[in-house]
Symmetry: D2
């Protein structure tokens, strides 16, 4: 497994160029970024060289398609998705991810049919570029009743959605925070096949009752109460060899300097991987 970064939780880290440089400098192997922007600014070769120079790989992009609302919004995203897939594939990205909120104001059954239909087309389009689609279930309890109707929020339900989409290049984005807030065990990860895991997020949770852990109140890996060692060990046991990427959503931007945050992030990863017996 490789350790990686998103920008979330690092405050104002600046341009993606700076993000890549700092990721490399602090020992991270992958970054999640805006592939189209990077390729637009540097060209494909330039973007590749920049990543290589800092010893960093681009690992995942966000799904640039609004699949949750109107047909018109969805259609508008398809052009962006094509462009994003082309840019992402050109710089070595093999994952594109989206999250699934646990409740919705839309009627739940109809919303599920729409999700299957639209995510299926996204998966097909990504598949033409050798990119996989990762679906992230979202565990925090408060979001389950945030909108009118319960949708899905468990690993099992998300695997069922993956199976229903029925394209070979769809799987899970596993996030330690959602694993924790849905109260799964290490065994629930260990039983997965590696190809069912498209991408992984690493986060930690405050020491509050699980049902009170807020989605946007996460802490750096190692600063909280999640059994990250157990999470990582289970992941490794599946044969998963991709990126494990920090994504710390917070209510307000952190005030520490970026360098401090990166140092602490790296130390948190090292500690968790060591505790898991993986480094």
């Amino acid at each position: 497994m490789k350790i990686g970064l998103t920008r979330a939780g690092l405050g104002d880290i600046g341009s993606d160029e700076r993000f890549i440089e700092l990721a490399g400098a602090y020992g991270f192997q992958t970054v999640d970024l805006d592939a189209v922007g990077l390729v637009t600014r540097h060209g494909v070769d330039g973007a590749r060289e920049l990543l290589a120079k800092h010893g960093v790989e681009a690992s995942s992009i966000g799904l640039p398609v609004e699949w949750r609302t109107t047909d018109e919004a969805f259609r508008n995203g398809l052009g962006k998705l094509r462009d994003a897939a082309e840019a992402a594939a050109a710089i070595g990205v093999t994952a594109c991810c989206t999250y699934i909120l646990p409740s919705t104001d839309a009627p739940a059954a109809r919303f599920m049919a729409q999700a299957v239909r639209r995510l299926r087309l996204c998966a097909q389009l990504l598949g033409a570029y050798g990119i996989r689609l990762g679906l992230e279930y979202v565990g925090p309890h408060h979001l389950r009743t945030r909108w009118a109707n319960p949708f899905i929020w468990t690993q099992q339900e998300t695997l069922e959605l993956v199976e229903t989409i029925a394209e070979p290049n769809v799987g899970l984005l596993l996030d330690s925070y959602h694993w924790y807030t849905t109260e799964l065990a290490a065994g629930d990860i260990a039983k997965l096949q590696p190809h069912q895991i498209v991408h992984v997020h690493l986060n930690d949770a405050r020491d509050v009752p699980v049902s009170e852990a807020l989605d946007n109140d996460r802490v750096l890996p190692g600063d909280g109460v999640i059994d990250l060692a157990g999470f990582l060990r289970a992941l490794a046991s599946t044969g998963y060899a991709g990126a494990v990427t920090q994504e710390v959503l917070t209510q307000s931007p952190p005030t520490d300097p970026v360098e401090t945050l990166l140092e602490r992030s790296k130390a948190g990863f090292d500690k968790a991987f060591a505790a898991a017996g993986l480094r």
Copy 2:
């Protein structure tokens, strides 16, 4: 369009052999029946001859798969579906239908994913035999709250399910009772393409407020308040050329003799088709 019968609403009509004979005798052109039973008792050639002798075609079979409950029940139905498809195709049947209840005790989103997945396999299996799968939405209001969670009950939602299943041989079973209880207009049918309509049921409703019309308290075509002429005219305008089949669900079996019921049924069809300008 051809006029047809199911056994529902005809009391104790006896064997399928008797059903076929009476359907022919009273001027109906199609029947919905148990294809496996007929082929088992008569062989393929015998079953064909029996139908031909009475001038009746077999039009649709029920989906013999429990797609609403456990994986085990679903799997058990797959063998029956294969056998039913073979028998049905052998005697000229091109439709296989199931209904979708408007509420469910299962979580609605998960139930929808399961429905898509399982009905897709059913459609594929039927497709190997040249048979189409018809999905019937169910309109009566009392069933929308009969189970814990609302599911789907409109033509539009059912078309979306058809689109999500994404197999070319899936469409609607339109039932005048559900068209009436979902308060659609003739135009909602007229805008359909003929291949979106797999099968049609003709029923009538008592003169009670629409929201109080019970699913199992239907009356013979012509004995109620539904604008069957408008329904039929809209159907014909799409180019639909298949069967329009009576299926009168009642709370207790009718007490009139079968012959009387058939006579009244035929008269009801004749009146509705004449009013629609179709005969």
Copy 3:
């Protein structure tokens, strides 16, 4: 059925604006054109108004994707396809068509797998815009051996490809020239369901042996030996209500003035439809 025009066989007809104007002036109801160009020049509303002003509908666009060669070329076309689908849907187009050459220098089996895979993605993308994909088989005998390996060229094989793609919005483009050069009968068309027909081309053939009819040596409807009345009668019998569009491929551009060609085209259509008992 509506009568329509492509630009093929009309010489130098000028801009699409001029094409629309002339089509309307000579009594044609539909045109096949470049939707993106029209919308780019006039905006969606302007393009719609222009069409409406001349009483002409836009009926079909060509598939702007190179699905026959490299992955790179295919991928490049996907962005164009998205843009074309958006523009086409905005001006009312519901068909997008491509032709299938009867032989190929690629290994035939592998080429078929590639065709299924790529055309399936095209169909899905078009489906998000309510547009159908029409596949045109190509009958002229000389093309069957033009490249190293035989591919497919019959209606039946093309229907099998449609079935294999397995998306609900795929069907045939029927062309009278290919119907003639594959020596089909009217009955072969009459047995189709209307939704299996996405678009129709009308052309005529010189009085040479069928096996010598060249793909790019067609003549205007009525100037040749094809039983166009039988073709149209069979089409109408299926319930097909879409466009029947002239597309006269010739070895060199016609030398007659456009107006003469349009007059002769319209007369040819009138004669064929009258002979079919359709006007």
Copy 4:
């Protein structure tokens, strides 16, 4: 990886009960057998106990569907497939395999479309039982021209077929004999994802020019010239953890006693795994 046996190459080994017993006695961990027969004779629980008693797992069944010829033959197989899937799943089998001959008397393109269509339905049906479909490419040169038209015989083409079928539970059956006769390198296996490999056959080839190696003239692992150590090492490097199963096709049944053949088989496996550094 587990070592396993098929009956091929072991002469007259008797009943499947005897086969299971001997497999266990000679240190093999898996067998490929007739799941329906075993479950019919012993019931599900009895079959499971029998396997457990001998420390042997059932690993793969053959696809009991004739997907290469008529629609009628194909349809007839679907009932068998459902029954086989049920029996196989009940005793823990997760793979069902079929082979693809490198040439065919059918037109190649049409045959490919048919293969995609039919294998897709087989995959869907198997998927309902948690079973994967493995496709085996067949390398020996003499079979490439055995029938009229070349079909597919390389790993790459077979991966493309897998992608075209587009169901998540389809992958390769890798056979060392076909790997050898298509002259692939270890790297061609090493680049596969583990889920792309459904099952593996181990065989060896006589010391004749590759182009003269006959499909049904194989020898026991270790008795020939294939670099089985390289094959196994590459397999292991992918993360593949399933069965590696002997399947020695020969022109006439071997004359050695079964026990001798099993001893030699086991010794061959041990030698190859040791040379690969895997035991």
